[in-house]
């Protein structure tokens, strides 16, 4: 499973980071999110799915 945060859509709501703190990181300056790594470790898949589902901007793509 792979994950990507669309930088054009992310507005820095930070819900993904609250839901899956091991898989998402927030920019120090604007708080916008990015994936720690495109490849999602097996033990993180559930949290990442939940994070994608929680994103108010629908900015997280799982592929």
């Amino acid at each position: 499973m792979k994950v990507r945060v669309d930088p054009e859509l992310c507005q820095g709501h930070t819900l993904c980071w609250m839901t899956a703190p091991k898989s998402f990181q927030l920019d120090e300056v604007d708080g916008h999110s990015s994936a720690v790594s495109e490849d999602v470790p097996a033990d993180q898949e559930e949290d990442v799915r939940e994070a994608a589902h929680s994103c108010p901007e629908r900015a997280i793509q799982i592929f």
Binding site: T14, L15, E28, S54
Partner: protein
């Protein structure tokens, strides 16, 4: 060539919708169910006529269509005369541009880029020891008496003091800002109290104006310093524009967090088993509970927009110049996204609420709001675990047209011991920390957490 549909065709779904009436507050759930079922986008003739979007999908698609929506409030009439985010707009004489929330890009984006390094999660987390000290002192003032008003004695004070600290305004001035910041929201324009509120607002405006001039002359770190030195689309912004920005930061920073905290504490008092569970399981439950309170109570229930070009969004045709109300509060109750939407579930999953707005205007203070809320609520759970709010003394805002807020929330609890100095003394200590450590500097300059000496 396509034919322009007549107004009657486009405005088929018509409702009478007036969110400024007490009735809307009392019948919020029924109204929301009806709109969701019949017309998630509807036309209403109230307040000069405007669209009302209540469905989650519809609000989402509209809010994200920045190319067809404008937040612009053209107070001077030099652009297209758009009226900003308030429906109805205030009388001409009282019209002020509401900072960058009533601007479009690129200026709006430049303002946010200027302020983000003060408001990002990393920037805000540095303030936690500061917030904890203010909360501690507020609770200390009441802990021995066994009675507190959660609005007057806690939820008004902490957001006010922190907002002023971040701006770079002396903390002791919080009383100058507190009353007008709340009263100007809940006082109806025709109230006999309005002259008093207007006078307090004028004094607040003077204080802000003085802070602008002072900090322009003699820099001291904070949001005001960033604003007076900002490059907004190649220009240094004029004072009247900056006053609007500061009013936005104060309006956004004070009343909303107060509203969220008061409603959450009232709910926890009514649901003591859930309160005990939240306290016990806070490590896993506090984040989701915070988002759920945000969803359920939606302190800022919506935003107005102006359609900036003819378009079709979510199946509805709009025409340039039409006004639109995006109801975050009603979108947050849509059963297609939130199962059992009218009940609070502290562990709700997939809670993609829109309480901070959606799209490019997402509340820039969302990280401040969450942090302050969490520190206040957990301190109450720790120090006043058996608190019981008094429904007789509780005063909600009469309407939820602007903010779903509360004026008073008295509560009783088993008295406890003070842990430290008084609020006044604490604010003096914290003022020294601000001055000596430059706490209000952006995260790009200062990464260390506040040292409050305690």
């Amino acid at each position: 060539m396509t034919e322009t549909p007549s107004d009657d065709d486009r405005k088929k779904a018509r409702v009478h919708f007036d969110r400024h009436t007490p009735q809307y507050r009392h019948e919020f759930e029924e109204t929301t169910h009806e709109l969701h079922a019949k017309c998630p986008i509807a036309w209403t003739d109230t307040h000069g006529g405007h669209w009302v979007a209540s469905g989650n999908r519809e609000v989402f698609e509209l809010a994200r269509s920045a190319e067809f929506l404008s937040n612009d409030h053209d107070v001077k009439g030099v652009r297209r005369g758009y009226k900003g985010i308030t429906i109805p707009s205030p009388p001409r004489a009282r019209e002020v541009q509401g900072g960058f929330l009533e601007m479009d890009p690129p200026e709006q984006r430049h303002y946010r880029q200027t302020l983000n390094p003060y408001l990002s999660p990393a920037a805000v987390s540095r303030w936690i020891p500061f917030v904890d000290e203010v909360v501690r002192a507020c609770l200390d003032e009441k802990i021995e008496q066994g009675r507190i008003d959660f609005v007057d004695d806690l939820a008004n004070i902490v957001p006010a003091v922190l907002t002023l600290a971040m701006l770079g305004i002396p903390l002791k001035d919080w009383t100058v800002y507190n009353e007008p910041a709340h009263a100007s929201v809940y006082t109806p324009p025709d109230s006999p109290d309005m002259p008093r509120v207007a006078e307090l607002s004028r004094k607040m405006g003077m204080s802000l104006y003085m802070a602008l001039s002072e900090i322009r002359e003699k820099p001291r770190p904070g949001l005001i310093d960033a604003l007076v030195r900002a490059d907004i689309n190649g220009k240094t912004p004029p004072d009247d524009e900056l006053t609007g920005v500061l009013a936005l930061l104060i309006g956004g920073g004070f009343d909303t967090t107060t509203a969220l905290t008061a409603h959450a504490l009232e709910w926890l008092s009514e649901n003591p088993a859930e309160r005990d569970r939240l306290s016990r399981e806070r490590d896993t439950l506090l984040d989701s509970a915070t988002e759920e309170f945000l969803r359920y109570f939606t302190p800022a229930p919506g935003d107005g927009r102006t359609i900036s070009a003819d378009c079709e969004i979510a199946g509805q045709k709009f025409e340039e110049g039409e006004r639109l109300w995006l109801s975050w509060a009603m979108a947050n109750r849509d059963p297609s996204v939130f199962p059992d939407p009218d009940r609070v579930h502290l562990d709700r999953k997939g809670n993609r609420h829109s309480s901070f707005g959606l799209g490019i205007h997402r509340c820039i203070g969302s990280n401040v709001a969450r942090t302050v809320f969490k520190r206040m609520v957990t301190a109450v759970l720790d120090r006043m675990p058996d608190f019981r709010c008094d429904p007789e003394g509780t005063v909600h805002y009469e309407t939820i047209g602007i903010i779903q807020g509360m004026r008073h929330l008295p509560a009783a609890f088993t008295p406890g011991k003070r842990l430290g100095p008084s609020l006044d003394e604490t604010l003096e200590t914290l003022q020294r920390a601000c001055d000596e450590q430059g706490l209000a500097a952006p995260v790009t300059v200062r990464t260390a957490r506040a040292d409050t000496g305690r």
